[in-house]
Structures are given as C-alpha cells and as structure tokens.
C-alpha cells in the first residue's frame, strides 16, 4: 500500500510516500530513503520500495527541503538542512504505529548517502542498518578544489550568492557548510553494519571514494562492487543486482 504523507522540518512541509506491507503481522521494519543532489524521491526509489514491500519491509521516501514536492527553495539547501530533514523524518517514522522502532534502516544514494551516513552518526541508537549507494563523499574533495562536480567553479560563490547548476541555483550555504565537514568523524558514532554498493564505471563519483570509506569501517562495512554500473544504474541488470543485494542485506539485518 502506497500512501502520501507530509511532515514539518523548520516550518516547511516535507512531502513523501510510505509503502506499507499489507499482509504483515504486527509491526514491520522500515527503510528511510534519502535521494541525491537535484534528484527526488521518485525513479529508482519507487521500484525499490515496491520490491521491499513485497518482502515485508516498509519504506518511507521523501523530498528534501527545496527539492521535488517539498516546500522551500533549492538555493537554501545545505548538508545541514538535509541532515535536519532526515532526522525530522526519522522522528516522524518512529511514531508510526506499524513501525518496529528497533528495526529502522537508512538508505541513501549519492549525496543522499552522505546525508544518511551523517544522520546515522547523530542517531546511532535509532539506526539498525545503513545502506549507501555510490555515496558522494567526494563532495568534500571537490569543494576544497573550488568545484562542484566536474565543471562548476564555486570559488566566487560568496560574491555571486549562487552558482548555476544547469538551470537551478546552488546556494553559498551548501558550499560554506560543506567545507567544514569531516566525513569520518561525523559518521563514526554509528556502530552497526553498513552495506556500500558502487559501480566501477561510475564517472560522477569514482569507486575509490567508497573503497576508502569501506577500509575505514573495516569489519563494520560490507563493500559490494557492481561491475559495469554507472552512477544512476541505468542498466536494468545492474539495477536488479543493486535491489537483490539491498534486500539480502536488509533481510539479514532485520532478521526476517
């Protein structure tokens, strides 16, 4: 069953979708999904939510402030605002009567993977499992080099207030906040298992980023390489592998 929902974050409405398994007995585990940069809760997340629902796992997807259906302007988006949004949704989910509060996972794609990792660091006690799909931890490296992605120069953003990301304004808060972030320190409090998946043909976020992250987390992390996959898992075979591995990991962590 797919149900629209809304909850507040800093006075703005976050809009999303819940997928609730219909024939589950008692409370069910849930995955909260975090989308990537300039993306939305739709596309691959819709398919993944329907797959998870079929195996008895609920999911909650939403658009971050300033993205998709949610209130706010993209120019005001930052890592801090997205982590805050994620934690507000976590609090909302914990109050849902069908949710088993001891079995909540976070899943993030690209920049959403970064946000999921930071949110898990802040609420380690609430998160049973963490699933990172081509997490964009390279953002920190890019910002320090004065770029956002491959081509966009952000060195004058405090003068210009924004940079043009192909028809949408990226604001200075994202850059100034991002420059202060310490990836490993912020994720460190989270102590449960992490599944990291990354395509070795990803040119947006090179696989070495996840290799380094997996090394840092040693036995805590399971690193799965999807051979030939790009950043958006365009090939249906790669996407299926991603879904299969996600279901396998979550089923194990939720003890289904």
């Amino acid at each position: 069953m797919q149900v629209a929902f809304g909850c507040l974050s800093n006075g703005k409405v976050l809009r999303g979708m819940q997928h609730i398994p219909e024939h589950a007995a008692g409370k069910v585990p849930v995955v909260i999904m975090f989308h990537g940069f300039t993306a939305t809760m739709s596309f691959m997340f819709v398919e993944l939510s329907r797959v998870l629902e079929s195996v008895g796992i609920a999911s909650v997807r939403f658009d971050f402030t300033g993205s998709g259906e949610s209130d706010g302007e993209f120019i005001d988006m930052s890592i801090a605002s997205e982590v805050h949004d994620g934690l507000q949704v976590l609090d909302y989910v914990k109050e849902l009567d069908y949710v088993d509060k001891d079995r909540i996972a976070l899943l993030g794609v690209s920049l959403g993977g970064v946000i999921a990792s930071f949110a898990a660091g802040q609420r380690a006690e609430d998160i049973r499992a963490l699933c990172l799909i081509c997490p964009a931890f390279i953002f920190s490296e890019h910002l320090k080099q004065g770029t956002m992605g491959h081509y966009t120069d952000i060195t004058r953003i405090n003068e210009t207030q924004f940079v043009d990301m192909g028809g949408i304004k990226l604001g200075k808060d994202f850059v100034n906040d991002g420059l202060l972030r310490d990836i490993y320190k912020e994720s460190a409090p989270y102590q449960n298992k992490i599944l990291i998946m990354h395509g070795d043909a990803d040119i947006d976020v090179p696989i070495r980023v996840s290799e380094d992250y997996a090394k840092a987390y040693q036995d805590q992390a399971h690193f799965h390489v999807i051979h030939g996959a790009d950043h958006i898992f365009m090939n249906p075979v790669h996407k299926q592998e991603l879904f299969d591995k996600t279901v396998e990991f979550l089923t194990e962590q939720f003890q289904l």
Binding site: A4, R15, S42, F43, F162, D164, G167
Partner: protein
C-alpha cells in the same frame, strides 16, 4: 494549497499533485504533462515552481505521473504513446469533475515529448466540442482547451520504440483544423534546439494562434538559470493573459 491526489485509469492508480488557490469561486486550471523519462516535478522542479507561481495568481494546476512513471503504477518499459494519451484523457475527465474549476478556462502545458500529447488531446477536445454543437461550455462542462504551452517540443527520446511512435504522431499534425476551435498556443524553445521541423509543423497547424518564443544560446529551455527564468516569465504571463 498543495494536495496529493490519485485516481484510477484503466485499472491502474495514477498519482499527482493538485495546487488550489485559496478562496471561493471557480478558478482556471492548468494541467501539466511531463516528458518521457521525467516525472511530475519535471527537470529541476520547474513544474513545481510553475504550479506555486500560478497558485499565487489564482490559477489552479494539476501535475501527475503518467502510467509507468514516477509515483504512478506500472513500469517505464510498459508505457507507450497510446498509454500516455489514455492517461491524458483520464486526467482531463478527472479535471472536469472538480467543482472549483472553471471548465471554460483549462490550459495544458507540455514539455519535450509530451507536447504532442498536449496538442493531440486539445485537438480531440475541440473535435468533441464541435460534434456536440458548441465549442463553448456545454452543460457537462466539456469544451475545447483554452490555451497550450509547448516547452522545447521534441519527437526524440532515448527509447527507440517510443520515439518511433512520436514520429508517427508528428505527421498527424499536418491536418486541416480550420473547422475546429484552435487554442492560443505559446511555443517556447531554445535557439539551438534540434526541433525546427516540428516547430514548423506547429506553426502551420496553429497559424496566427501560435506565438513563438525563442531563448537565445541554449539547446533547451531548462539549461541555465537565465533560460529557466525567461521560460517561466513568458509561460506565466501567457497563461495569465489567456486564463484570467
């Protein structure tokens, strides 16, 4: 007020968003069709912005995901131009049940591949209204579409089958519509777009009803902040002029 909506089309659930201005009385409505491979928010969320601006102006809007896209039932591989047209007819029927909508003032916005769906539905409604003996409001609220906005129209997508269906539909634009009501049309495209033949067909079809807005130095309307702002400004001004 932004509200999630859903309705059934051919046994499948379609999901979308309704933006309704505050206050009483009947208001005009804009229905937005997303392009192949996109969703109801459209590229860089332009449809969300457009809906919110229109709502402030007193114009309602509906955005939705076609079957096989976004939040709606089905998978991308299952959709076709025929299934999209069927969804478009269903959303128009749904819109005509809304009591707060002024049925004489309905406009459609299409982007990319969905421009052909918008113009096809508009032609069907005009023909239907003519068959009923009036192009004006009938007792059932059926009328022709008042205005069309076509953003970066194209017959090319990354799906070969869907593209061939679009190209066949493009040829049907060479029809004589002198005896049916033609909406006011705003076609907005980038100067560098590879769609000149399609633009010419639309120009022949709609003649003096069509106004063409070309945005310099871009190959689609949502390419830079500047092109987006020009597109948004032109679209809102046109819809205000036609609907209010």
């Amino acid at each position: 007020m932004q509200t999630a909506i859903e309705w059934s089309s051919n046994g499948h659930t379609l999901r979308g968003m309704l933006h309704q201005p505050d206050g009483l009385g009947k208001v005009p409505l804009v229905i937005m069709f997303h392009e192949y491979g996109a969703t109801k928010t459209e590229n860089k969320f332009i449809y969300v912005e457009l809906s919110r601006v229109l709502e402030q102006k007193g114009i309602a809007s509906i955005r939705f995901d076609f079957y096989g896209s976004g939040e709606s039932d089905g998978e991308l591989g299952q959709k076709s131009l025929a299934s999209d047209l069927s969804c478009a007819r269903d959303i128009m029927r749904y819109a005509q049940t809304l009591s707060f909508v002024n049925h004489e003032r309905i406009a459609i916005v299409g982007k990319g591949s969905s421009c052909l769906i918008a113009s096809q539905l508009s032609a069907e409604m005009s023909a239907e209204a003519k068959a009923e003996g009036s192009v004006e409001l009938s007792a059932e609220g059926k009328t022709g579409v008042k205005a069309l906005v076509l953003l970066s129209p194209t017959v090319k997508t990354w799906n070969v089958q869907y593209t061939s269906e679009l190209q066949a539909a493009e040829l049907e634009l060479d029809v004589d519509c002198s005896d049916i009501a033609v909406p006011a049309v705003s076609l907005i495209a980038g100067e560098k777009e590879d769609n000149k033949e399609l633009v010419e067909r639309y120009t022949r079809l709609y003649q003096q009803q069509l106004s063409l807005c070309t945005i310099a130095n871009v190959s689609q309307v949502v390419e830079t902040v500047n092109s987006r702002e020009q597109m948004m400004e032109h679209t809102v001004a046109f819809l205000e002029q036609q609907l209010l």
